[in-house]
């Protein structure tokens, strides 16, 4: 049985909650299980944001914030460098043999934190998600897509088609209840991309590229490779 209890930390405007929804919906599309919990607070641009997702191929009952994660995803380097996070230090509560995916192009983890992560036998993946988003989609707003792309690329818990379905639902479906702020952001993005389909395609390209990164660097989980 696979079970990932994920804590996502980022800053307002990065689409942290949106990507949590996509993670969950992709699991649902694959006929698997997910529960997600957004951080409950007022949302502000560049203020810390957390979201929590549990994914598994078995039913999940647990609710609430993930206090003891086995996956940590850091969407913005400032979470670590500036302490822009509700959970300090960023790895607090991380279980042994866990996973940390960090959006950065240089090693930003302080030495003393490395000691702890090694003690916990954490697999740390540093990955320039924003750079990838800019290169492929031409906007840093696709950072979240790169991050979930890498997560799925590593864990392979759902197929690419399931992710595509979830992203489609998010950008084309009308079932998603977004906050007013998210809706306004959407229209800003839409102007940039002109068309929704184009937006979707760019997002999928970013995700595809992140999958490739996981494969090229040999990060794909062995168990996942065999299934």
């Amino acid at each position: 049985m696979k079970r990932y209890n994920i804590r996502i930390a980022g800053v307002g405007g990065q689409g942290v909650v949106t990507s949590a929804h996509i993670l969950g919906n992709a699991m649902s599309a694959a006929g698997k299980y997910a529960t997600l919990v957004p951080f409950f607070g007022s949302e502000k641009r560049m203020a810390p944001v957390e979201a929590y997702v549990r994914v598994s191929d078995q039913p999940i009952y647990e609710v609430g914030e993930v206090v003891y994660p086995n996956v940590i995803m850091i969407y913005h380097p400032q979470v670590i460098t500036h302490g822009k996070s509700y959970t300090m230090p960023f790895y607090s509560g991380l279980k042994e043999n866990g996973l940390a995916i960090i959006n950065t192009d240089v090693d930003i983890v302080p030495e003393e934190d490395w000691v702890v992560l090694k003690e916990l036998n954490t697999r740390v993946y540093m990955f320039p998600a924003t750079k990838l988003a800019l290169d492929i989609a031409g906007t840093e707003l696709a950072t979240n897509m790169a991050m979930i792309g890498l997560f799925f690329g590593i864990t392979r818990i759902v197929g690419f088609e399931h992710i595509e379905q979830a992203v489609k639902e998010r950008f084309l479906g009308n079932t998603f209840v977004a906050s007013g702020g998210t809706t306004a952001l959407d229209s800003a993005i839409e102007k940039k991309f002109k068309k929704k389909m184009e937006l979707l395609e760019k997002n999928m390209q970013v995700i595809r590229e992140a999958f490739k990164v996981a494969e090229e660097r040999g990060w794909v989980e062995e168990e996942a490779l065999t299934t």
Partner: protein, 389 residues
């Protein structure tokens, strides 16, 4: 909106085909209202309840309900619900924490007025300092009103409990309101799988003449009690009228139990009935309890779960029977007062086996690991502070 056809209540609740959707708890509640042939819903904003009543407003706009409005405040909303139900309509509202307390004078009088309304209670912190997080202390305020209080664990429960409540509350031998409680955010804003009845089927409309106390609609002689209010009488008459009326309400509350068996599969759910140690929990704490049972299994510990669905009427006999041989009874709760632990202790002879807690409050999350600490204590296991999977 699809054309909805009325189907038999038992068919809809027990036999109708179901389709699985991945939706939030708020959506699940609104979807139940959509299928319940509700006449009127009355809303007043409060976080985290608002989303439910937004969605109910949307389904009114689509034509599923006949009337809907945003009231001036919760006291007004709950009083108007009383008016609408006395006028013979099927009515729904929902609220949260401080809103529940603001409406409580009206809500607490519903059972006495014999108002079979359904109220969604999406819990949130009620006491200062101000917070909007999902503490469920407000449920304790409902337990002495006489109304039926159900506590939903997840989105599926929210759908099932809400839909069934319209039918249970209107049973002639019940005829009191039902609160369907669940944790705000943890359930209302989180998604889960919900098996739902078809969108084109709805419950039969309310028949207000099938009632122990008739509606006030000038179609039928009104209830005698309206002319004979106890306040008009001598002290002794006043005591007597009010006393028998209250007795009848609490008897009605207990009579709801057979319908809780029929439509909700009973007031409790037991996982691993032969366990040595039990977790007894309601609402989303039961979900955490389920995970604790799994964790314990991985470690070879014999732990069971009693999920309490109906807080009032409290399943005294059922709980007593399951827990008769329990070595320890762990009651995790999302509030500081431990209202569930008190109910459990009062229900069983071996109340010293009850470990009141772990309790989290202020809306904090309840990690399974906290429950596991109590489990280790119960088995006398000393653990290093290390997280478990």
């Amino acid at each position: 909106m699809p054309e909805q056809r009325v189907v038999d209540a038992d068919y809809l609740l027990l036999e109708a085909p179901r389709e699985r959707k991945f939706i939030t708890g708020a959506q699940a509640m609104a979807e139940a209202v959509k299928r319940a042939n509700v006449d009127i819903a009355i809303a007043y904003p409060i976080t985290p309840q608002s989303e439910v009543m937004h969605l109910v407003g949307d389904i009114w706009a689509q034509g599923y309900l006949k009337d809907y409005y945003r009231a001036e405040e919760e006291y007004g909303a709950m009083s108007a619900i009383a008016g609408a139900v006395r006028g013979g309509a099927r009515a729904f509202s929902a609220t949260s924490g401080p809103g529940l307390l603001r409406g409580l004078e009206a809500i607490a009088s519903w059972p006495g007025h014999r108002i079979p309304a359904v109220l969604g209670v999406l819990t949130r912190v009620v006491n200062a300092p101000l917070s909007i997080q999902p503490d469920n202390v407000e449920i304790s305020y409902l337990l002495n009103c006489g109304m039926v209080v159900l506590h939903a664990e997840n989105q599926q429960d929210v759908f099932d409990f809400t839909l069934a409540s319209f039918i249970i509350s209107e049973k002639v031998d019940v005829y009191i309101p039902i609160a369907v409680c669940t944790e705000g955010f943890f359930v209302t804003h989180a998604k889960g799988y919900v098996n739902m009845t078809p969108e084109d089927m709805k419950l039969p409309p309310r028949d207000p003449y099938k009632a122990p106390v008739p509606p006030t609609d000038c179609e039928i002689p009104p209830a005698r009690i309206q002319r004979d209010a106890p306040v008009q009488k001598s002290n002794f008459m006043s005591y007597l009228i009010h006393a028998v009326w209250q007795q009848e309400i609490w008897a009605s509350n207990r009579r709801a139990m057979k319908y809780i068996y029929k439509y909700l599969g009973g007031p409790i759910e037991v996982v691993n009935p032969d366990a040595e140690v039990f977790v007894v929990a309601s609402g989303c704490a039961a979900a955490q309890g389920r995970e604790a049972v799994r964790y314990a299994q991985l470690e070879g510990l014999n732990v069971g779960l009693v999920k309490v669905k109906s807080i009032c009427p409290f399943p005294v006999n059922e709980v007593r029977q399951v827990l008769s041989k329990a070595k320890a009874i762990i009651v995790p709760e999302h509030n500081i007062v431990g209202w569930l632990a008190k109910e459990v202790k009062a229900a069983i002879p071996n109340s010293d086996a009850v470990i009141g807690g772990p309790r989290v409050y202020g809306g904090m999350t309840l990690p399974v690991e906290l429950i596991m600490e109590k489990v280790y204590d119960a088995f006398g296991i000393k653990k290093e502070k290390k997280v478990v999977v």
